[in-house]
């Protein structure tokens, strides 16, 4: 698993997800095919309830599809043990959420550094890596602050630093700009784009924020659990 641009980070084949409750059947996802590679920023665009978040939870291995196959780093997700999946999340996957989900009892620095404690590989040089990640998103000066003292934009930058700190190959972002004002949202979008393009990482963003279209490498439009349309914005066909 080198940094080969053609490596499939995520591959979904004919994924369906059905929720059944008290005899009521809901098709959350229907026969989704989806591939993402290094260096790509993938945008899942669609209204609430279109299945974007369900798709992300399946990609991260938190949710099992009813049908279909999921490949993560070119390996069937069913072939990973729970411990391997946990290690994978600690070392190779970063997460960003709409509501930031920072731990308020910890400082900005500790929130970011916490992820490194989960990883066997990244535990060393944690001080340097944490400072680098905070510097990368421009909030090193806020290290000692508590998350409750931060603006929404600063909170999201902290969450992004937390996702960057383990040098994740796959970054999963669920509505990362939804709680932000326009300017802050644009800055976050640029950070994610830079992470994908300059560091050759795969970023999957679920959003209904149309501003993200300008920087996405692939866009999947979702509605009622299906991908109704996909497009590669002009001039971004890097991976063929």
């Amino acid at each position: 698993m080198g940094n080969d641009n053609n490596q499939n980070i995520v591959e979904l084949r004919k994924i369906s997800k059905v929720y059944e409750s008290r005899g009521c059947r809901t098709d959350a996802l229907k026969e989704i095919d989806f591939t993402s590679r290094r260096g790509e920023l993938i945008l899942l665009l669609g209204p609430s309830g279109s299945g974007k978040t369900t798709l992300l939870t399946i990609v991260a291995g938190f949710n099992q599809p009813t049908e279909g196959d999921v490949y993560l780093f070119e390996k069937d997700i069913n072939d990973y043990s729970q411990t391997e999946l946990q290690q994978l999340r600690a070392e190779k996957i970063g997460f960003i959420f709409q509501s930031f989900l920072l731990i308020e009892a910890l400082t900005v620095y500790e929130n970011v550094e916490l992820v490194l404690r989960f990883s066997r590989r990244n535990r060393f040089n944690s001080k340097r890596n944490t400072s680098d990640a905070l510097n990368q998103v421009g909030i090193l000066h806020l290290s000692a602050k508590s998350p409750i003292e931060l603006s929404h934009g600063e909170k999201q930058r902290t969450a992004i630093a937390r996702a960057f700190v383990n040098d994740a190959d796959l970054l999963i972002a669920d509505e990362p700009t939804a709680s932000l004002e326009t300017k802050q949202g644009e800055e976050i979008i640029r950070l994610l784009h830079t992470y994908a393009s300059e560091f050759n990482k795969c970023v999957i963003v679920a959003s209904h924020d149309l501003r993200l279209k300008t920087l996405a490498d692939k866009i999947y439009y979702m509605e009622n659990g299906t991908i109704v349309h996909s497009e590669i914005p002009s001039g971004r066909n890097r991976n063929g």
């Binding site: 939870t57 938190f62 411990t83 009892a105 500790e110 916490l114």
Partner: protein, 366 residues
């Protein structure tokens, strides 16, 4: 770090939690202290009495919970044995005494002044010399505000307090020492004794002496060497009070475990999202369990410190109100309590850890 941050995030709750756990620890310390106090008070008299052989009425095993009544004249027969260097009679009676208009009960112990069987340690004044003198236990005299020179009444007799002794507080009652002659006069049976204390010449075969005494007056005595007699009394004391103290300590321990489990569970519920986030970010189970266990141990250890700091002033206060309460806690007891507290905390944490299993990473996805 995270553990500490979680705890200090809500200072008022932390204080109440620490106080609650500290009170449980104080309760356990108090019970252990009381037990040690009773243990010392009950058997100190026997420990400090220099005796090779104790002779009691047949079928008696101890002096704590049982009467032993002997004819004092038997001692004349026993002491004829050439290996007996010295011997004395002691009479112990549960007696009512009057202090001004108040009544109290003491373990009135009559002994021959200058012989064995008297107070284990005089801390003020002197031993009795005359029949109208009495030596009181320290706690008893403190409880009834008696000092040397004060007078008390037994029946119609006035006795003067001439000494204060220690190691004679059995909590339920206290020893008081008078002359053997006076003790015998209170029951109007001049030839009565509870037991005889024998000291032997060096090199005496004590088992053989026991046998000889039994042979001389068969079926009349229970004869014990000092160590065995001490063990009998300790066993009797433990049989009488240990189950009670054990039950109270166990209740304290259970309350401690419940408080800790509740606090930890509430913390887990309040931090549910944090735990879910950590699971999403790839936290191993061991990391999360470690957080809970560390939190429990930290709470317990800080509470123990608070408990120890509060214990001594509290006990001083209690002992002022009820001087017969005698607590003894030493460093070994503190180590024991710390270990017990840590074990209880660990078990409570393990119970609380079960809640973490029911927190799902999917909870954080919108």
């Amino acid at each position: 770090m995270y553990v500490l941050r979680i705890l200090i995030a809500q200072p008022l709750r932390l204080m109440l939690t620490l106080l609650g756990i500290a009170l449980c620890i104080i309760l356990i310390m108090f019970i252990i202290g009381i037990y040690n106090g009773v243990a010392e008070g009950s058997v100190e008299y026997i420990k400090k009495t220099k005796a090779d052989i104790w002779v009691l009425q047949a079928n008696s095993t101890n002096i704590l919970r049982g009467s032993s009544l002997l004819r004092a004249g038997y001692l004349n027969v026993i002491k004829k044995d050439t290996s007996v260097k010295s011997s004395t009679s002691v009479l112990i009676l549960l007696t009512n005494i009057k202090i001004q208009k108040r009544n109290a009960t003491v373990l009135l112990t009559g002994y021959v002044p200058g012989s064995e069987g008297g107070p284990p340690k005089i801390i003020d004044g002197r031993e009795v010399q005359l029949n109208n003198e009495i030596v009181l236990d320290k706690s008893f005299s403190a409880k009834y505000d008696l000092i040397i020179g004060d007078e008390i009444l037994i029946k119609e007799d006035t006795l003067i307090v001439v000494g204060i002794c220690s190691g004679t507080n059995a909590v339920v009652t206290q020893y008081a020492f008078v002359t053997l002659e006076y003790a015998q006069s209170t029951v109007e049976l001049p030839g009565l004794a509870s037991f005889f204390i024998l000291n032997c010449n060096s090199g005496t075969n004590l088992s053989a002496l026991q046998k000889r005494i039994e042979d001389k007056l068969p079926g009349r005595f229970s004869i014990y060497q000092n160590q065995k007699f001490l063990e009998n009394n300790i066993a009797e004391m433990e049989a009488g009070i240990l189950p009670l103290f054990f039950a109270i300590s166990a209740i304290g321990g259970i309350v401690l475990a419940i408080i800790l489990s509740l606090i930890l569970s509430v913390n887990i519920l309040e931090r549910r999202k944090d735990f879910a986030v950590m699971k999403v970010l790839g936290s191993p189970k061991s990391f999360l369990y470690n957080l809970i266990i560390s939190q429990a141990l930290l709470l317990a250890l800080i509470s123990e410190l608070v408990g120890v700091i509060l214990f001594y002033p509290l006990v001083n206060f209690i002992e002022k109100i009820s001087p017969e309460v005698n607590t003894i806690i030493n460093s070994n007891h503190l180590i024991f309590i710390t270990l017990v507290t840590c074990i209880i905390s660990f078990v409570s944490a393990l119970f609380s850890c079960r809640r973490i299993r029911k927190i799902y990473p999917l909870e954080v996805f919108s």
